[in-house]
């Protein structure tokens, strides 16, 4: 027989009764978990992005409904118009440019909300520590991820072995990305015969023999790879409408049915961003904030890329494979990282930057 347990200020109770009470208390705390997620698109946004976000909210709402969690979408003309809400997990999207994304993220911080960066990327916070703040999650790939992916995958995809790496100008931002791309090319077995902080024409004028060029332009906003005999460059994208494996075809078909257009990387990022935060809300414990769950190493989601995706704690980047696609093509040439041994380690390293938001960030 189990000995009775005597509480400090009450009658004695046996172990079974105590366990029942504990179970009841646990059920009560589970019920206190967020029962509603409100997604707000703040600031001006192109219609296709708003439409993609609505698609993501629609799907997430349907997935969450059986678990008693509602997911709704609202619009706010300006970030300042977004109001705080009690007992609701508030999630902000939006920002038409770098300054706009930072403004929406700042509003999210002020409201205790989460900001999902679906369309800017970490580079919008270059040199600023708040880009890696706990309330932010970057679904859009960073320029470093794109440079790494092109360097790792383009030599095989383009069957090009001798590369030069060029930039529009010799700015720090472009040169850092050029160095990253150069290292990734070398790691992939290519030979980098020149790294020049100047346009491709100047490199060619210098007489460097090469068969492909990795180019960084627009302060890192444009990163391309191209064979010298092919005008159409290769880009590293977060999604492409032609993707079929891992349920990609089904996702693309559902989006096409809803939006009457193919799913591109920005539409995917909107959909995946909503899925990310709603799954975090569904799985968060009562003692856990949404941003805490998002940053947990064991919190993973499936977003039709064939591998578990997670948020890197250091820079709040959703770590994800990228797809190499030539301009104008309707098919993916390569996926980076390629499946195989140490694919997870290579994925984790994609775009990883020491002190991405500055030393001490």
């Amino acid at each position: 027989m189990q000995p009775p347990i005597v509480p400090l200020d009450g009658p004695s109770m046996d172990r079974r009764t105590l366990l029942r009470l504990c179970a009841g208390a646990l059920a009560t705390t589970v019920l206190r978990a967020p029962r509603a997620v409100r997604v707000v698109l703040a600031g001006a946004a192109e219609a296709p992005l708003a439409e993609a976000l609505a698609f993501g909210v629609s799907e997430a709402a349907r997935s969450a409904q059986p678990f008693g969690v509602s997911v709704t979408l609202a619009r706010a003309a300006e970030p300042g118009e977004v109001a705080a809400a009690r007992d609701v997990a508030l999630v902000l999207f939006g920002g038409a440019d770098a300054a706009g994304c930072r403004a929406v993220a700042e509003r999210a911080r002020a409201l205790g909300a989460v900001y999902v960066d679906a369309w800017c990327g970490l580079d919008a916070w270059r040199g600023r520590s708040d880009g890696c703040a706990g309330h932010v999650v970057h679904v859009a790939p960073s320029a470093a991820m794109r440079a790494d992916a092109l360097g790792a995958g383009a030599p095989d995809a383009l069957t090009a072995r001798r590369w030069i790496v060029t930039t529009d100008e010799a700015s720090d931002a472009e040169m850092l990305l050029a160095v990253r791309g150069s290292r990734a090319l070398s790691a992939a077995g290519a030979t980098v015969v020149g790294l020049v902080g100047q346009p491709r024409a100047a490199a060619q004028a210098a007489g460097v023999t090469h068969d492909a060029v990795l180019h960084v332009g627009d302060a890192g906003a444009t990163i391309t790879a191209a064979r010298t005999d092919e005008a159409r460059p290769l880009r590293a994208l977060g999604w492409h409408a032609s993707l079929e494996p891992f349920g990609g075809a089904q996702l693309g078909d559902r989006f096409r049915a809803a939006a009457r257009r193919p799913m591109d990387e920005r539409a995917w990022a909107a959909w995946a961003g909503v899925k990310l935060v709603v799954e975090a809300a569904l799985r968060a414990t009562s003692a856990e904030r949404l941003d805490q769950r998002l940053g947990r190493a064991d919190f993973i989601i499936d977003a039709h890329k064939g591998v578990p995706l997670s948020v890197r704690a250091a820079d709040r980047q959703l770590v994800q494979p990228l797809y190499l696609v030539r301009d104008g093509d309707d098919a993916v040439l390569a996926t980076v990282p390629r499946p195989g041994t140490d694919a997870r380690a290579r994925l984790a390293a994609l775009g990883a930057v020491p002190h991405a938001c500055g030393v001490g960030a």
């Binding site: 799907e59 349907r62 997935s63 059986p66 678990f67 349920g247 075809a249 089904q250 996702l251 078909d253 559902r254 049915a257 799954e279 569904l282 799985r283 993973i300 989601i301 499936d302 064939g306 591998v307 578990p308 499946p339 997870r344």
Partner: protein, 326 residues
Amino acid sequence: VRRPVVRLLLALGAASVAGAQPAGGPIVAVSDEVGHDVRLIDAGTGATLATIPTGARARGVRASRDGKRVYVALSDDAVNAQTSADAIAVVDVATRRVVARVPAGSDPEQFAVTSDDRWLVASNEDAGTASVVSLGDGRVAATLVVGIEPEGVVVSPDDRWALVTAETSNSVSIVDLRARAVVGAVLVDPRPRAAAFAPDGARAYVSAEIGGTLSEIDVRRHTVVRSVPIEGSVGKPVGVAVSGGRVWVANGAADVVSVLDARTLRAVGRVRVGRRPWGIAASADGRWVVTANGLSDNISLIDARTLAVVRTIPVGKRPWGVAIVP
């Protein structure tokens, strides 16, 4: 399309092949996604007994409990479009012919049949629904909203419950087959694929391909009892079967079947099979396990006692599902 299936089978005078199995292995039905057919294989000898054209993409496959019929899920090659190709084909094992096509909603992928062969539950992947179909008259008795991208379907041994996994929603919908209604859902790890009931029907096991786990579900309480990593969480578990006190998990990416003790969910073995094992089935007597290996175009027959592959049999162009014919 709506011909009464049972009456038709009686008229055909279908004879059972039950009891005709060779000592060296069971009769196996294998669906071929690309070859658009279903094959009956004598796994004891490796001989193909019949190749039965289905005229459409053949995926999920089940055998009736009496071994007289094999059911095959058919759909067209294009998604998001319900066509006349979308159906469950009924194969008469004795005559080795498709004797009926039962409507089962749009794009049926996987399904399960009640033990009395009266009801069929199919997942409709692109519609996000599950269809409950009367096999007697081909009537769709209920179209149930489940999670997004439904896939795996299993019916409890007492025919009371059906579970439907949803790959995008990460959920398992629990269907009360008496009420023909969804009565609950369980959140599981990312990308749940297949499910299998424990013999007592109280627990079920669900694979999560991206989560890399197997979850044990308490069916009445609608809760996850526990989840365990498969192949050190680097596996990509897809198909699941239960027999002989073990849970058999097909790992599509690792080309192995993971073997777990059903009580403890501890790994007790692993069996290397063909490339990308997908469908998996276990014989009711716990003697055999079979996998359909989609990328090596063959099936693997596993001796459940020794955990050895005793025969690898070439089949078709892309074997998808597999069922052991009692």
